[in-house]
Amino acid sequence: MAEAVDYKYIGTSPVRPDGVDKVTGRAQFAADQNMPNTLYGKILRSPHAHANIKSVDVSKALAMEGVYAAVSGADFPGGARGKVGGEGGGDIGDVARNIMARDKALYHGHAVAAVAATSLTIADAALAMIDVEYETLAPVLDVVAAMAADSPLLDATNFTKNLPETPDKPSNIASVTVLTRGNVDEGFEQADVTVEGEYHIPMAHQGYIEPHACTATVNEEGKATVWCSTQGHFEFRSMTSKILDWKVGDLKFIPAEIGGGFGGKTTVYLEPVAVLLSKLAGRPVKMMMSREEVFRATGPTSGSVCRVKVGAKKDGTITAAKAWLAYEAGAFAGAPIGPGAMAIFAPYVLENFHVEAHDVLVNKPKVAAYRAPGAPQSMHAMEIALDDIAREIGMDPLDLRLKNAASEGTRAPYGPKFPAIGFKECLEAAKAHPNYTAPVPEGAGRGVAAGFWFNIGMQSSAEVRINEDGTVIIMEGNPDIGGSRASMCLMAAETLGVDYERVKAYIGDTESTGFCNVTGGSRTTFATGMAVVQACEDIIAQCKARAAATWGVDEDQVEWEDGQAIPAPGVNADVTPMSLADVMASAHKTGGPLLGRASLNASGAGASFSVNFVDLMVDKETGKVDVLAFTAIQDAGTAIHPAYVEGQMQGGAAQGLGWALNEEYIYDADGVMENAGFLDYRVPVASDLPMIDCQIIEVPNPRHPYGVRGVGETPIVAPLAAAANAVRAATGVRINDLPLSPPNILAAIDSD
């Protein structure tokens, strides 16, 4: 059970172990992999958002000088028309079809063929020689229209899942989720005020700065080695094995340093294609996406329409809440409606609610996870509704939330009761924060919102080895996307009682470390951290046994303190304490080198809540928003490396503000994304933002040895509604839709 204790290393913010290589350009990212004799692979993409593929002919490309392989859907298992994947559930079949279209192109930019050639120039020329015959179909672009019975269908074999009655007609609705408790009609009858609205949010991209890239080499024995940019190389290996129908054991995945992911690099795009091309060409194949390809063909998050109705008494008690959610899945099923539905009311005590959420196919790229997938969209609607209620009943928005805040023992909307959580603590901290007690600057508006994410555990492995000088090597399998090596080293230093500088952490490939699930879901510091702590405890147990053997005492007469084995109090032994180096010095006599290990499937990740508030100014002539101040308050459980916890909070705030203020996928009537570049898809730049003030709340998670909750996802949730509520406060106009970009704000002000 973790308690507030004084740690020596945990809670400090030392320089990360991989830092020097990353500030000098030495660190190897996926596109930095070089092998002799490498070919460049490139992908041909559909120019249509919705079309039947009648035929693909790569023969002319293959005949070109310098072209060594060319493939289309027909070259993958399952062929151009057959069933793909062979798995129950069909998800991997969808991924297979997403990375290479078979009989249908489902979005503009959908991969239809690929080549490998001696140079990028030749590869481009070869793509132009591939003949594809399309039969174009009407694109389905609007999520609500897509749900209509008469909408054109993306997939004539899709029958909506989870309905009480199995439907007899196919539809674009992939599945429906319902979550309900109490009686909403009665709840609304008890309400003194009711607010209701419909909120639209367009698709947004994770926007990692490093485009997807990989190099694959298949040798004459048919064994593949793949270097890639991934949040989870074990999962990439598994997906590639299923998509290509190769043995897992014939595939080795080496994770390069990863240049951002935010969920978007939890699934494959290039890797199976590169392996197949390399196999056919007999040479290594390197593939790098352009930024345009990243926008058009990799995971955005769902655009959404949310309808929300909330009722409350004059004293602020929420009596009922109702939500109808429609999320764009893109071309294949899988919008995050489950989490969206479970998260929307999660921060609050609610007796009566009803949520109905829809996963809807549209001719846009297949969505991928993006930080707290599904929560920002639905919670944006709820947090705006609460703001409107607070205004109507004349209550401070923080007080309204405090009045209804969930705490330990509250039954979460998704069923179980919350264990210890820190939402009230976050709200109290916000109320007392100097940025909140300070008056709102003249002409500006202040907006408040709350955020939430479940966090997850899942499988992790770790090994800890001790060198003969007593230095410590950690080997684990979670790509370090934001400083996790430093957190692992801190937890190991704390557990073992050795200096942080004496610990190094490595990310092993699929053959040098045990299985780890993805770096995602805010699980790495929690779950892999737990494995590292247990592997260190394994080392300590071994050291105690060896010291006992050396001293001729019982094992329970040895303790571990400050990095050394010592006799337990009262043990009458005249011995010198043994450090890790001492144990290693005699290890050849006491049982060989020290190797600690742990593997686990972690449960008990604690939910993380946040409260954000923002001051911003709206230029009523141009509609431009200036963010003056942003404050993020979040429960981290325990902050292992506070600077990187702040980094997660600040980065999430910036992404949330970007989504709130400017970012959106803009489509023309044909389903072509019109802004597939950083010039027109405008992510926040340094001059768009102020400093982002952070306050880390620490309500330790009892289920982690050091109280970690996981912090990476929650920060993106609250900024959307916080910004919308601040714009409302600044202008007096309520804008339900995002982004709050100059044209949208001007239009709203003008029509008011």
């Binding site: 489950g338 899942m458 805010s522």
Partner: protein, 80 residues
């Protein structure tokens, strides 16, 4: 007896029953009981997460279930 609650997506598999009470030792035994009662439900439950007394498990197995336990099946959660 432990209280077992099914989310809406599972209701087709439980003939609409939202809640039952059973006596079992652990999660593995619970699955055996449920499968016997509603053949085929195990496959659907394998795709759900489960919360036992407030703790969420993506893959429960031998977790104990006490006489006063609450067990909620819920959607699996992934993350970015």
């Amino acid at each position: 007896m432990a209280r077992i609650v099914f989310h809406d997506q599972l209701l087709p598999a439980t003939n609409g029953e939202r809640e039952i009470e059973v006596t079992v030792e652990n999660y593995r035994d619970l699955l055996v009981v449920l499968e016997a009662r509603w053949p085929g439900i195990g496959e659907r439950l394998a795709k759900s997460a489960v919360a036992i007394d407030g703790q969420i498990y993506q893959d429960a197995f031998l977790e104990p279930i006490a006489a006063n336990s609450e067990v909620f099946f819920m959607s699996r959660i992934e993350g970015g």
